[in-house]
Amino acid sequence: MRKMLTIISNVLRGSASRNSSTLRAVLQLLAVQSEYANLTAPHDHDPDPLSRLKDAQPHSPLASPPLTQIPPAEYKDLGHTNSGQALGHLGPHNRPLTDVVSSEAIAQKESYVEPLMTSGSSISEEINVVPPLTERVSEKEKPIFEKIISPVIDVSPSPVLITVKLPNPAASPAQLSPAVANSSSSVTSTDPHCPPPAESLLGLDNSFPEITHSLAGETPFPEPQLAGARVVVSARTYADFTPQASFDIKKCDVHKLEEGPPLQAVLTREEGLQYYRTMQTIRRMELKADQLYKQKIIRGFCHLYDGQEACAVGIEAGINLSDHLITAYRAHGYTLTRGGTVREIMAELTGRRGGIAKGKGGSMHMYTKHFYGGNGIVGAQVPLGAGVALACKYLGKNELCVCLYGDGAANQGQIFETYNMASLWKLPCIFICENNKYGMGTSVERAAASTDYYKRGDFIPGLRVDGMDVLCVREATKLAAEHCRSGKGPILMELQTYRYHGHSMSDPGISYRTRDEIQEVRSKSDPISMLKDRMLSNNMASVEELKEIDVEVRKEIEDAAQFATTDPEPPLDDLCNHIFYNDPPMEVRGTNPWTKLKSIS
């Protein structure tokens, strides 16, 4: 929409010099364009984006408290929709939000455009008929179009309109162009950008001699520029996209549960685009990390998440940002969905001071608000997650904790200890086993006597979910969240998913599985392709639109990689900091008795 208006205004600018009436039209159009931009930019649930920037505090490493110490009142749930999608987030260290509201978040807002006009949707046979679009058109959608176009038509000093206003019998309203005739009288000039109606102006002064002169013999058609503008507007509306559609999803196997999630999931266009963008961001970020690792810019551990994107995105869609999440070492995707930015994540991987943990944690130790990492010891995060859930229950805030582990960790004893206590104390904990078929190099059949991971909770109800389908994951997570929030205690979900890369960057990933297998999953079950196909075949997005998202994502990743490779490493002064919280500065022994290093909290 912005592009379109830019084109129009460029066209008008070009011809403005010829005619001051056109100049006026240009000015009004530009004014209206900026007004329109304000109409589309704010998200439904974020009425005043600028207030966030006002409240932003400068980054101060000494002054900022750990995430648990930030009182809940300060934490703003930004741009959060009912379906649980996050568009922005108060980052660590109370950084100015301009840093933290990532280009991704902003881009998401910009890419979403409310349909200006609605028309019939194209419904494919396999999906259910959705309620007539006219019923679902929100109040906002209808007037926008008219709001934008009408003032231009109403108050433009085009001969046509001026003809209307003058008490000139030669031109009556009925002879005017449809554009003018149809213009809504609902738009008044309460808007500061719109000058008062032409009648008052022209009734009072004679400042437009040329217009007066051109009245005679003017045909009642709109000015060429205006007509052109109108044509451009109607061709570029997103009128023909389906706002939402319903999709069949795979049935989940259940264990000690009466019923699983519904067999159909509703996806709105907005959600679809957001899931697509987030999954694509994760995918490209992981592939970029692969590249950087091979260039030896990233070192040590790097466990990549590509192939499993639907899990991270689907889970986040089923919970709120105020809920909690903890996972193991394959954590980059979750760091993103939980509010981290690509820049911070990549800079952490490259060990720079701009990293989410200032370069001190690395791939496996990334934290954000209500996200407890990133944990390197297999299985240790599960009792931690139950502990977080205990705190949720104790503090009575109706929050829950999602506690993830892999098929390899599923055999750890401490997990069974945790199942026991979580169940005994009815902790609001969703245990999720991301079964990607291989624990490092060992396939599930060789590691587990029972590969029904969703049943391994025994007395804990379980579901087995298609982890490659973001909608399936989302619906299952919603069901699980409902279960926990109603006080029934923990629940277990097994997400059947797949990782394209090996266990880590030091594992090529083909010694224990065949390339054919990887290829098959890529071609048949790729989560991003699945979502893309669904959206395209139901006319929920255009190929160009998705391509545009791809381009934006690529750019974001490039920028982040650029930052990650050029940001300086942490200063040596930082070496001994952050040993203790809220402690006076202390001395730390260096490598020899004469080296005394300083440590501050």
Partner: protein, 346 residues
């Protein structure tokens, strides 16, 4: 002022002194901290309905209920992890290990999940937790139940390790530990639980805190410095009393904190006495005494030593059961006296 548990009251010089056992001091400290801060809670085996395996948490469940005093199953790794997770999410748990021998099952959670997290997250995630329980040798409990973990936990950055001796130590240090925003390993001693100490009014106040990281000189002396922690401080004081009759005045330092070690207090004392003997219950190799000696060697106090510093430690063997063997596996007063005389060359 009301004490929740019965104790003897001695009125001396119009100052109200209480005789309080270490057990009661710990109990009172926990009670007061539970009352003071709603986020504090206690979990461990038998802490609630059983009143504590060693009765340290007697009466607390009755007063605070299931939400704040939680009995756990016998799953150390699990409940230690749960305690750490709760601390990460904003609570302030006290995680009791029935003895620190069982903490080995959970040591990964103590070190990798609790101690290192604040550093790994560069200050984003703090873990305000206390791990407490009896540590070291008891009586007749044999090898698997008698290990001292001071050196193991004292080794790790990110932890504070505290080892109280008296009732006053127990009270002040436990309060400080609970109020501290970092993981604290609180090493008690089963044999000290029943020992009464005098407690002044100042110590009885609800906000009496002993700073973590500061040692205390329990007895002033001039000829030799004895450095010790936990139960061994009693033995050092007894040895000092015996030697005083022979004209040797020992300065006895109660470490109170293992990590961070108060090297300055020890150095200041050595600069006065010129001799050092450390006394501990744990094994010698890579232990507390080893660390103290190394630090003294590397520091300014080395030049003040008139003879090499030595360590008195437990014997380098797993703890035997038979009484005579057990008695000879840990330092006795005579061993301390012997080492002192050897060091002083008398």
């Amino acid at each position: 002022m009301t004490a929740p548990v019965p104790c003897d009251i001695c009125i001396i010089n119009s100052i109200l002194l209480l005789q309080v056992t270490v057990r009661d001091a710990l109990n009172q400290a926990m009670d007061e901290e539970l009352e003071r801060d709603e986020r504090v809670f206690l979990l461990g085996e038998e802490v609630a309905q059983y009143d504590g395996a060693y009765k340290v948490s007697r009466g607390l469940w009755k007063k605070y209920g299931d939400k704040r005093i939680i009995d756990t199953p016998i799953t150390e790794m699990g409940f230690a992890g749960i305690a750490v997770g709760a601390a990460m999410a904003g609570l302030r748990p006290i995680c009791e290990f029935m003895t620190f021998n069982f903490s080995m099952q959970a040591i990964d959670q103590v070190i990798n999940s609790a101690a290192k997290t604040y550093y790994m997250s560069a200050g984003l995630q703090s873990v305000p937790i206390v791990f407490r329980g009896p540590n070291g040798a008891s009586a007749g409990v044999a090898a698997q139940h008698s290990q001292c973990f001071a050196a193991w936990y004292g080794h790790c950055p990110g932890l504070k390790v505290v080892s109280p001796w008296s009732a006053e130590d127990a009270r002040g240090l436990l309060k400080s530990a609970i109020r501290d925003d970092n993981p604290v390993v609180f090493l008690e001693n089963e044999l000290m639980y029943g020992v009464p100490f005098e407690m002044s009014e100042e110590v009885q106040s609800k906000d009496f805190l002993i700073p973590i990281g500061k040692a205390k000189i329990e007895r002033q002396g001039t000829h030799i410095t004895l450095v010790s922690h936990s139960r061994m401080v009693s033995l050092c004081l007894d040895a000092a009393a015996v030697l005083a009759k022979e004209g040797i005045e020992c300065e006895v330092i109660n470490m109170r904190t293992i990590r961070p070690l108060d090297a300055e207090a020890i150095e200041t004392s050595i600069m006065k006495t010129n001799h050092l003997v450390t006394v501990e219950g744990g094994w010698p190799q890579f232990g507390i005494g080893a660390e103290i000696l190394a630090r003294i060697m590397e520091g300014p106090a080395f030049n003040y030593l008139d003879s090499p510093a030595v360590r008195v430690t437990g014997v380098d063997i797993p703890m035997p059961y038979a009484k005579i063997l057990e008695d000879n596996s840990v330092p006795q007063i005579k061993d301390i006296i012997f080492s002192i005389k050897k060091t002083l060359n008398v």
